[in-house]
């Protein structure tokens, strides 16, 4: 499916709009990354696209058709959302959590059917967490929990997958594994994908398009054209080099941070 956002505006407080005039298009089987500093509105974009939050102006279109403003019509759009790994209020087993991903396919007064259980097992196997399907989610590590949430989103048979910093809190081996998993899902399931990330090299590695979000402006385009040394300097205020590293018969781009351009600015400008 093709997912479009046209002129989206959003702010949590009335006089403070954090997203202004956002437009982008996510094509079929494409991966899009969103990069930007902490607190700049990356997660907010994802929540507006999935319908957890509501655009104040503008709209999301699926295959050219706008999603209506009502909650109900937004519920029908099948977009799987994978939140950042967080602890659950009750110690559900992995299988129970993944089953909850079927919610939109299960009637209000029903319980999961045989078909639902089949889809759940399939999602669990696809993500490769079959060995821990009966474990309690409270006993899992952050990386394992992230996989469980991905499986939960897949169990809902989504047409697009939206992931909020899926590789944060993970060691680099697991980061790599998550990225490969996303690539595999896009290839095999034919779904589209939007990913928030803090790692430009991850974006360079897996995404087709990139949205670089700044405080008052943003850039959207092919990843190679967006993540360049000049643009990263403009948007993050740091001096970087992007270097090609030859590997077998392709080039992998390495991202090296050199220096902070503006020494007055704090290392982490987290405040909104």
């Amino acid at each position: 499916m093709i997912l479009e956002v046209k002129n989206g505006y959003f702010g949590y407080a009335k006089d403070n709009t954090i997203l202004k005039d956002i437009s982008f298009t996510l094509g079929e089987k494409e991966i899009m990354t969103i990069l930007g500093q902490n607190g700049i509105g990356k997660t907010t974009i994802l929540k507006c696209v999935t319908g957890i939050l509501k655009w104040q102006q503008g709209q999301t279109l699926i295959d050219g058709k706008p999603i209506g403003p009502s909650r109900e019509s937004r519920e029908q759009v099948n977009i799987g959302y994978v939140p950042q790994a967080h602890s659950l209020s009750f110690p559900y087993t992995v299988r129970e959590v993944v089953t909850m991903g079927r919610a939109r396919h299960i009637g209000l007064f029903s319980v999961p059917s045989k078909n639902d259980r089949k889809m759940v097992e399939q999602a669990i196997d696809e993500v490769g967490i079959g060995y821990m399907r009966d474990k309690l989610c409270t006993q899992l590590s952050g990386g394992q929990l992230q996989l469980v949430f991905i499986a939960r989103a897949l169990a809902g048979e989504p047409k697009a997958l939206i992931l909020d910093e899926p590789e944060s809190h993970l060691d680099f081996r697991n980061q790599f594994m998550i990225l490969n998993l996303i690539k595999k899902l896009v290839r095999e399931r034919g779904i589209s994908c939007i990913i928030n990330t803090h790692y430009p090299e991850h974006a360079l590695r897996i995404s087709d398009t990139t949205l670089l979000l700044g405080r008052d402006s943003y850039l959207f385009g092919r990843t190679g054209e967006i993540i360049t040394e000049e643009k990263v300097r403009d948007y993050f205020g740091i001096d970087v080099r992007i270097l090609p590293v030859p590997y077998i018969n392709k080039e992998i781009k390495a991202f090296v941070v050199l220096d902070n351009l503006d020494s007055r600015q704090d290392v982490c400008s987290c405040s909104k």
């Binding site: 929540k47 999935t50 319908g51 957890i52 909650r71 109900e72 519920e75 029908q76 099948n78 959302y81 939140p83 659950l88 209020s89 009750f90 110690p91 559900y92 087993t93 129970e96 909850m100 991903g101 919610a103 939109r104 299960i106 209000l108 007064f109 029903s110 319980v111 999961p112 409270t138 939960r152 809902g156």
Partner: protein, 337 residues
Amino acid sequence: MIVKQKNLKLAWMALLSLLAATFFVSLFWGRYLISPGEVGRILIDGLRGVEQDGMAASIVWGIRMPRTLLNVLVGAGLAIAGASFQGLFQNPLVSADVLGVSSGAAFGASFGILLSGINNFTTAMALVFGILSVFMTYTLSKLRGESSTLSLVLSGMIISAVFSALISLIKYVADPYDKLPAITYWLMGSFANASYSNLKLVGAPILIGIAVLLMLRWRINILSLGDEEAYSLGVNPVKIRLVIIVMATLITAACVTVTGVIGWVGLVIPHICRMIMGVDHKNLLPTSCIVGAIFMIIVDIIARTATAAEIPIGILTALVGAPFFAILFKKTKGGWQ
């Protein structure tokens, strides 16, 4: 400790047989002991429509049967309402009266006793004020312009505090030789007034509440993830939450109305059931019903047989339940964490 998926059916059967067994014990055990064989005969005769007279038959059919049925209804109702609320508010420490229904109903009953003693008017007052208090809590929580669980719980605390203060006020002004003891005993809870007319009064609301909650049992899982994740999974939590609150309130108000305030059941039975069956509300809710009913029957048998005078059941649910819970808690090392 947690029952495996494939043994679930076996566990259901075991719990149901235990319920049937305690139910039967409750019919023959008491200050007036009737032999199990005779109770069996009386039951079969009664069901076949044979005319019966004599002390034993009237005790079994007239006194113990309605009382035990009420035990089952109230135990199952309080437990399932507690389990639903714990899922809904994502907090294993809330109980069914978190929104103020118990204190509201208790105030209504106290006020009724103050005005006219224990009669049908009192019962009606308890029911009206129980539902009114939750309505007030819900309206208050909306004042902040959102219906989050936090604002609901806070509003519940406010309303409960007001009604608790009003109960104290009523006790303070009540006649200390007549009305005050009546109010105090009522607040401790008792099944002594159980009768078929009581059963008729509260049977329908409790059964309807239980049925609706059981139908929604899997949805409570989704609601226990919080509103944002519920939306992201394609579920609108607001309406379902309202339905669950209304049903749990209906159950609790009906229970408080006929038996007074019985604490601890709605809090601890769901915990015990999580240790047996796991946290999936699909299994937890029906288990809570059965275990709640068993627990209530056993505690009520103790309440009416342990001493010459009947012990208020609100005291016993805590005295029996707390040590039992402590043992389970130690055995499972905190169990479900």
